[in-house]
């Protein structure tokens, strides 16, 4: 057994080494024995300083305070920004966004004719934000093209067709490697949104 194997097992146990194997090595290796001593020391200090759990009376008081807060909250809301049903008042925004996407795709198709495989930099340079809204919105965009766009939907900045970043999409494990299918919808990818193929 190598010293590295043992110290790694002591630092982040996996159960890969048996106790007898480890004890044998520790008995014969002073530096690993020292590492083990330090590890045990950390464990002892950690145990000795565990934060105290609340008493029952403290929990009663905390729950009483919590119920006041919970009663004050009128209706369930979403914790994180999760776009759900499209409100009717956003229909116009969606329509405008769809128009903008059509223009965008048209530009992309033109670009595609001029260059077989445009770089993301080329595509991004030809895009300008054309749709904005003050609230999050889910947009269904039907696009018949092999072009993909990254769209940022931000609570503060509204909806913006921000840039085309093919390399980002190609490298994304959640998206198809070759985006030649019909684009169906927007889907969250990290903090960004992307047009996703069917």
């Amino acid at each position: 057994m190598r010293c590295d194997d043992l110290t790694r097992e002591l630092a982040s146990p996996t159960g890969a080494l048996s106790s007898s194997q480890m004890l044998d090595h520790l008995a014969a290796c002073p530096s690993c024995a020292e590492f083990s001593r330090r590890a045990e020391q950390l464990d002892r200090i950690w145990e000795a300083t565990r934060p105290v759990e609340p008493s029952m009376d403290a929990l009663d008081a905390l729950w009483a305070r919590a119920t006041v807060e919970l009663d004050r909250i009128p209706a369930p809301a979403t914790l994180a920004f999760v776009p759900k049903a499209r409100p009717r008042r956003w229909g116009m925004v969606a329509f405008v966004a769809a128009q903008a996407a059509a223009i965008l795709i048209g530009a992309l198709v033109l670009l595609d004719r001029n260059a077989q495989k445009p770089t993301s930099k080329d595509l991004a340079a030809n895009l300008t934000p054309s749709v904005e809204s003050s609230e999050p919105e889910f947009l269904d965009l039907k696009v018949d093209s092999d072009a993909l766009a990254v769209v940022r939907i931000d609570k503060d900045n509204g909806v913006k067709i921000e840039k085309v970043d093919l390399s980002y999409l190609y490298n994304s494990p959640t998206l198809p490697a070759t985006p030649h299918d019909e684009v169906d919808a927007l889907e969250a990818v990290g903090s960004k949104w992307a047009l996703v193929s069917k």
């Binding site: 020391q41 200090i45 905390l62 119920t67 807060e69 914790l79």
Partner: protein, 220 residues
């Protein structure tokens, strides 16, 4: 006497989809409350069952607080972060998809709340454990506690907290979730949304650094 922590509530409740009449039988309530899984309680709480909310709150407050305390190094900040997180979680149970465990979900919120709190207030250099005696305000005074031991424990907390302060934030939160919350590598990975290999290397690095900083410090 029935431990209040295990009471699911009085009257009729649905547990696991079947109506169960609990009225007049506190022992039954106690056993059902203790046996009810987080998933069952979440389902009930989501439907507005206040006693299920209470059970979740009581069941998880302590664990969440311990993590917050280790992250923030301060009793009052940890209490605030825990309370705020649990209220937020209970108020937004509709968002809980059940892909991860309730505890994992809660600890993710707690970790974020502690991070935000830490940004608002710089992590305090000295440990305050509530009152001037060095004990948390949450804990009833232990009459039989050896004062020398209590002081020694307080000193150790300060030393450990200073050591935790020296290691990078990402390593610190990963190590704390593993060592204090007792999460598995996979659960820590889920809470922090990082690969398991990263979890293991962060824990290993944190441990080596902590061991080095604490070398020569005697435990209790």
């Amino acid at each position: 006497m029935v431990d209040r922590r295990f009471l699911l509530g009085s009257g009729s409740n649905k547990v696991g989809g079947s109506p169960v009449t609990l009225s007049g039988d506190r022992m039954l309530e106690a056993s059902i409350g203790a046996m009810a899984t987080d998933e069952t309680l979440v389902q009930l709480a989501r439907d507005g069952d206040r006693s299920a909310q209470e059970e979740l709150f009581r069941r998880h407050w302590g664990g969440a607080y311990r993590v917050a305390f280790r992250l923030l190094g301060n009793d009052q900040d940890a209490q605030d972060a825990t309370q705020e997180s649990l209220i937020k979680v209970l108020a937004h149970l509709g968002d809980f998809e059940g892909k991860s465990g309730f505890r994992t979900w809660l600890l993710r919120i707690v970790t974020n709340a502690a991070f935000d709190s830490g940004r608002r207030r710089k992590r305090r250099a000295t440990v305050s454990l509530g009152n001037s005696d060095g004990e948390s305000s949450l804990q009833e005074p232990a009459v039989d506690d050896d004062p020398t031991l209590a002081l020694r424990r307080q000193d150790l907390r300060k030393i450990l907290d200073a050591a935790l302060d020296k290691i990078p934030l990402k390593q610190r939160e990963t190590f704390i979730l593993f060592a204090e919350a007792g999460l598995t590598y996979a659960e820590v990975a889920e809470v922090l949304d990082i690969p398991i290999g990263t979890v293991m290397s962060r824990i290993s690095n944190a441990r080596v650094k902590l061991q080095s900083y604490l070398d020569g410090v005697e435990g209790l």
